[in-house]
């Protein structure tokens, strides 16, 4: 890979709660190349959102983050707050899951886009307004002049999410981190947002980190995929290879759980569910986290943490018994 845009190494996040320590993320490492779309997949609570929020230190004070996240030659995790604020919104920006609550209800759409433009780029009012209109057109919002003076509650869910994307793209960032951008939206709207993401990647060359629990979304848009389980990376591969040759039993289980339309005798089968539950994140077991639910579990998996190995070209898996 050419010089990566973002290089995350051994990222660990633990939360200090009243019931003890919770290890949300355990030694995650991944990198992001310029212009690529990286999908991070996993079920709720596996640590994918926490990983990405920790990159620009958006987590609450109860979180302790260790490891490194090198971006543009500097480690974001130890960067001075002032410099960090210059990176946020300007070079790395976010789109969150809930568009209704992510926008401030008491300010107009125009004001909220304006704000980030004036913070980072020294634009005059007119230039800022022009740029805001341009952005709204970019995210394909109809009648943008009117929208600028409207309030979030006057827009539909899909449009609000587009506004969020517009705000995120306002300063032409190098990285866009989208945390479950379509989960709170209707299925029909989802397609539109995903189209938009592809468009952004193609036209603007922005690298995108797409966090989701929905494998279908990933198949649609991503170039590479990272599968997370219980705070650790389970598998990483280019998207086609992941779907064609999944290695980790968890990934295989996830793929088996995708409902597929009836295609004739041979392909008809029951939805496979993965038995058991996600382990508690309070103790970090010194074993494979998936062992309890894995059909391939044995002595080895219960006594050691599997390390990442490259089992196919550019395809890594952390498993003692990989293979499709």
């Amino acid at each position: 890979m050419a010089d990566p845009l973002l290089e995350v190494s051994d990222l660990s996040v633990r939360f200090d709660t009243d019931d003890g320590l919770v290890h949300a993320v355990d030694k995650m490492s991944f990198s992001l190349a310029p212009g690529e779309v990286l999908g991070i997949v996993g079920e709720s609570g596996c640590g994918k959102s926490v990983t990405c929020m920790s990159l620009t230190r958006l987590l609450p004070e109860t979180a302790t983050v260790t490891g490194s996240a090198v971006f543009g030659g500097r480690d974001l995790l130890t960067l001075a707050p002032r410099s960090l604020r210059r990176v946020r919104g300007r070079e790395i920006s976010y789109v969150f899951q809930e568009p209704m609550t992510s926008l401030n209800p008491v300010f107009t759409v125009g004001h909220q886009i304006d704000e980030v433009l004036r913070r980072h780029l020294d634009l005059s009012r007119r230039a800022a307004r022009a740029r805001a209109l341009e952005l709204l057109r970019l995210v394909r919002i109809p009648a943008p002049e009117r929208r600028l003076d409207e309030y979030p509650h006057q827009l539909s869910g899909g449009m609000r999410q587009r506004v969020m994307i517009a705000i995120a793209l306002a300063c032409d960032p190098k990285v866009l981190i989208a945390d479950e951008p379509t989960t709170a939206l209707d299925v029909t709207i989802q397609a539109g947002i995903l189209d938009l993401m592809r468009d952004i990647r193609d036209r603007l060359g922005t690298a995108i980190v797409l966090i989701t629990h929905n494998l279908g979304v990933v198949a649609d848009v991503a170039d590479r995929v990272v599968v997370m389980y219980a705070g650790r990376k389970a598998e990483e591969a280019p998207v086609d290879d992941l779907f064609a040759h999944p290695q980790h039993p968890y990934t295989i289980g996830l793929l088996g759980a995708i409902p597929r339309p009836y295609e004739g005798e041979d392909t008809r089968r029951r939805l496979q569910e993965i038995p058991g539950r996600v382990p508690s994140l309070r103790e970090l077991p010194n074993a494979c986290a998936f062992a309890d639910r894995c059909p391939r579990a044995d002595e080895l998996t219960r006594s050691e943490i599997p390390q990442l190995r490259e089992v196919r070209p550019k395809h890594w898996v952390a498993c003692f018994h990989p293979g499709s």
Binding site: R85, G89, S93, Y94, T101, L103, N104, V106, V116, I167
Partner: protein, 312 residues
């Protein structure tokens, strides 16, 4: 917004009508002959006959009520025991109380809101505990006692401020000198409530998703707190202001009694002590109307401030 306000206004109107009926019937409910009550307990038959005629006491009650309301809507609330126009007395004393109330609200806002914001931002730290503690004490101390203490301290011991009384606007400095202690005392409870509400509201705002978005945009913490969170919290707190209006009126009555200020509040007590029923009727009616109207005003302000209601 129109719908919201119309419903509020409708409810207010209904309450006003019921309140006026209660006030009216209240006087008629006093055991004994209403003519005697309205005529300052005099037993002179000629006088009583005059009163009966004037207040239409031999007509059915609804007619009397209608007559009274009709007059009231034209600003005529009758005459009190000393033959002085009730409306005139009220109008001359009301501005004093309004000044007291306005000053108190101003002080309470200037103190309570920043205190609440600071406590929320520094949650759990010593400054939060200290401010919250002071607010709790401020809530628990009845302000007439505070007034008495203030008089003991500032007027009797230190001779800094006068112990009571009121001076008109012609002498603004004197006016302020007399009003500052009563206003401060009256604002104490209000500030405490405001501070707690502001703190609670800010804590909620600071946990909201849009604050996370604001930080993700790279905005400074000042802007995140002072612009994004604060605006939302202030709007929520406006409704609290409305809830405090009644307490403000009650407080004004007491504060004026403690500081011997001849305002509208004190008038209510004087009226009861003198058993001057016409005056009582007028005073209670005006107080009820004032309360309802003020609440409605707060509703208007709130609906203007909150875009979700203003544009719906």
């Amino acid at each position: 917004m129109g719908g919201f306000l119309i419903r509020r206004a409708g409810a207010a109107l209904v309450v006003l009508v019921i309140a006026s009926m209660l006030v009216f019937l209240g006087v008629r409910a006093i055991p004994g002959d209403p003519a005697i009550a309205l005529g300052a307990e005099s037993r002179d038959p000629a006088l009583l006959a005059q009163i009966r005629h004037k207040y239409l006491l031999d007509r059915p009650v609804p007619v009397q009520y209608g007559h009274w309301i009709w007059l009231a809507l034209h600003g005529d609330l009758g005459v009190d025991q000393r033959e002085l126009s009730v409306s005139h007395t009220i109008v001359s004393r009301l501005p004093i109380t309004l000044e007291l109330a306005a000053l108190s609200m101003l002080l309470a806002t200037l103190v309570g809101i920043p205190a609440g914001v600071i406590a929320a931002v520094r949650r759990g730290k010593p400054s939060d505990h200290a401010t919250t503690g002071v607010a709790l004490v401020g809530l628990s101390v009845p302000h007439f006692w505070l007034g008495l203490l203030a008089i003991i301290w500032f007027a009797v011991d230190l001779h800094w401020l006068p112990a009571g009384g009121y001076v008109g606007w012609a002498h603004p400095l004197d006016n302020l000198e007399h009003m500052i202690m009563p206003a401060l005392v009256l604002s104490a409870g209000f500030s405490a409530v405001l501070m707690r509400q502001m703190r609670s509201s800010m804590l909620t705002s600071l946990e909201a998703d849009y604050v996370r978005t604001a930080r993700a945009k790279g905005l400074s913490e000042w802007r995140v707190v002072g612009h994004h969170a604060l605006r939302n919290s202030l709007i929520t707190v406006t409704t609290v202001m409305g809830l405090q209006l009644g307490a403000l009126i009650s407080g004004a009555v007491v504060t004026e009694t403690v500081f011997q200020i001849a305002g509208f509040g004190r008038l209510t007590i004087e009226a009861v002590n003198q058993r001057d029923y016409t005056l009582i009727q007028g005073v209670v009616l005006v107080a009820a109307v004032g309360y309802v109207v003020a609440n409605l005003l707060v509703d208007v302000v709130y609906s203007l401030l909150n875009p979700r209601i203003r544009i719906s």
